[in-house]
């Protein structure tokens, strides 16, 4: 194992971890407000397809990323309408959103299969990189989200809604509005994550190209204890499993990529079991429950 190998793995973990980070940070904001969204995989696919479509039509990759964010924001508002306004079951609605994403992304991306879109320009700095702007924005985004959640009144209200919406309402907050705001932000971030995969990495659209990353991102939220700063470390670990496997394969090492891909899932499960054993629950208390109060 040489230095160049370690550097290659690290750089590749950062790149693979980026789309995971954005998708997971969106999920984190939603879950902090008490809404679990199993449709993240579908959202990321919509982001990836929309990103390629918009980048291809406009010729500008930044337009692609922004359009992907907006498309997913809108898709997540459909989800929000069902779970918040219509009080539908969050798990069932999330899975429905996943299927919606499978279908919508196939439809959006169909005209762009095989098209190569302009990629995001890459910048090298501080001996790292070259990475594109979305990668460079990971740490600022994490800090911003942390500040938003833990150092603003809005963040306090959002977390209160995630713990006990009725109490938050009694304290003069509007749980439904806050959940909608959280889901809009979550959708945008998931769209950026999906678009980074297509516009930032492969520069093409391929049906089902997220291949389970949306679910890894959900595991990642748990792994990082619903904290945006831990999310950076988590994204590196989860992205690292993917990167290590690619680098080992490229060097002809005889390690099954499938066994390596399992590691993050099993690791998350073990960590969860450990928390359960030590009785340290950190999940938002009202996660997955519908708020039946008035507003």
């Amino acid at each position: 194992m040489t230095v160049s190998f370690a550097a290659a793995v690290l750089s590749s973990s950062i790149v693979s971890g980026t789309s995971l980070f954005y998708a997971a940070s969106g999920e984190l904001v939603g879950e902090r407000a008490g809404v679990v969204n199993l449709g993240l995989e579908g959202l990321m696919l919509i982001g990836a397809a929309e990103g390629v479509a918009a980048a291809s039509l406009s010729g500008n990759p930044y337009v692609g990323v922004a359009a992907a964010g907006l498309a997913c924001l809108l898709a997540n508002l459909i989800f929000g309408f069902l779970v918040i306004e219509r009080r539908a079951n969050q798990l069932a609605t999330g899975l429905s959103l996943m299927f919606f994403g499978f279908g919508a992304s196939a439809l959006i991306g169909r005209a762009f299969v095989g098209a190569l879109v302009p990629g995001l320009p890459r910048i090298a700095a501080a001996g790292l990189g070259p990475f594109d702007i979305v990668v460079w924005l990971v740490v600022p985004t994490a800090l911003l989200l942390w500040g938003l959640l833990f150092r603003t009144r809005w963040g306090l209200a959002l977390r209160a809604v995630g713990e006990d919406p009725a109490a938050a309402f009694a304290a003069g907050r509007r749980p439904k509005l806050i959940q909608f705001q959280a889901l809009a932000l979550a959708g945008f971030l998931a769209g950026v994550g999906g678009a980074h995969l297509s516009v930032g990495l492969t520069q093409t659209w391929d049906e089902g190209m997220t291949s389970g990353r949306g679910f890894i991102a959900i595991a990642l939220v748990i792994f990082s204890k619903w904290n945006p700063l831990w999310l950076i470390a988590g994204a590196l670990v989860f992205g690292g499993a993917e990167a290590l496997q690619l680098q080992l394969q490229a060097r002809g090492a005889d390690v099954s990529p499938f066994l390596m891909t399992m590691v993050p899932y099993l690791l998350t499960l073990m960590i969860l079991a450990f928390w359960g054993w030590s009785r340290r629950s950190v999940a938002p208390a009202a996660l997955g429950r519908n708020y039946f109060g008035v507003e």
């Binding site: 199993l38 459909i78 309408f81 069902l82 219509r86 009080r87 539908a88 079951n89 798990l91 069932a92 609605t93 899975l95 429905s96 959103l97 996943m98 299927f99 919606f100 994403g101 499978f102 279908g103 919508a104 992304s105 196939a106 439809l107 169909r110 049906e207 089902g208 389970g212 679910f215 890894i216 959900i218 595991a219 748990i222 099954s256 499938f258 066994l259 891909t261 399992m262 899932y265 099993l266 998350t268 499960l269 969860l272 079991a273 359960g276 054993w277 997955g288 519908n290």
Partner: protein
Amino acid sequence: MPRDLDLALIAPVRLAFRRCAPRAIVIAAIALAAFALVLVIDGKDPVRAYRDTLLYVFGNAYGFSELMVRMTPLLMTSLAVALPSRVGLINVGGEGQLYMGAWLATAGALSFPQLPSWLLLPLMAVLGFAGGALWALGPALMRAAKLVNETISTLLLNYVAPLIVSYFIFGPWRSAESGAYPQSPAFVAAARLPSFAGTRIHPGFLFGLVCLTIYGVAMIRTRWGLEMRAIGGNAEASLRLGIPVSRTMIVAMTLAGGMAGVAGMAEVSAIQGRLVASLSPGYGFIGFLVAWLAGGSAIGIVIMAFLFAVVSSVGDILQITQGTPYAVINLLMALVLFIVLGQRNLTGGAR
């Protein structure tokens, strides 16, 4: 008609048909109209697509029989969700349990190719059951020990199971004749479930119906069913009444996993004839939605599974006649679900 039988079987059927069937038709109509709009925007002809589907599905016996084929795995994966839901457990892991069932059944088929069919098929079914059951046992034990919530653990394991399958078909079981899409060697004839006269309907369909019937009756007519419903209603109170809560939860979850596992066994044995990576187009997830839409009722599951079978055949027809990617059909499925989920009166109370 004895009153007991009426309560157990006829009344729920009548109720299900009166409530569920009209609902399914209205939902399907709205969703088809919305999906038609999507197709028109995409420059396709929805009238032609729907007419082709109707002609194919209801116009000839083979097309209709294909609906049963599509329903088969859904019957079992939705039972795998409905059963634990009675004790208040949420099993989102049908997909993974199906893959593990298929995997262990394949291990049986590849290890004992010399066995006669009457011995090999039951062995594979038992192995399929065991594979799914073991995959659900872990989450059940962790839940019973209050370590990890079963929703999260079953969800995570969904992604591990296909990786195990991929490891084997890319590695030890890789067939020499497989090209770009690795697969296991083809099963011997004795390891293939027979199908009925010229169709692809296999005994798995009957098995699914029988299991659903047993489930429906057992829930109402047995002490065990009553205990399960009591636990689902209030686990704490049930525990104080002396009902073995943890044990019942573990058994329900394990049986459920086994059911999904048998669905996997039936897919490889009857439909694929070998283990492939793309074994299921999300049968486990669709099963969750079917069970949830049916509110856990056995008859409701059959009706909703039928609805989803029709939806997926629309996808096939669109792909064949108008070149639309098959994945687009997920949009129709999602529209159906969104409409149902948006009906507050029907779903608001049922969590």
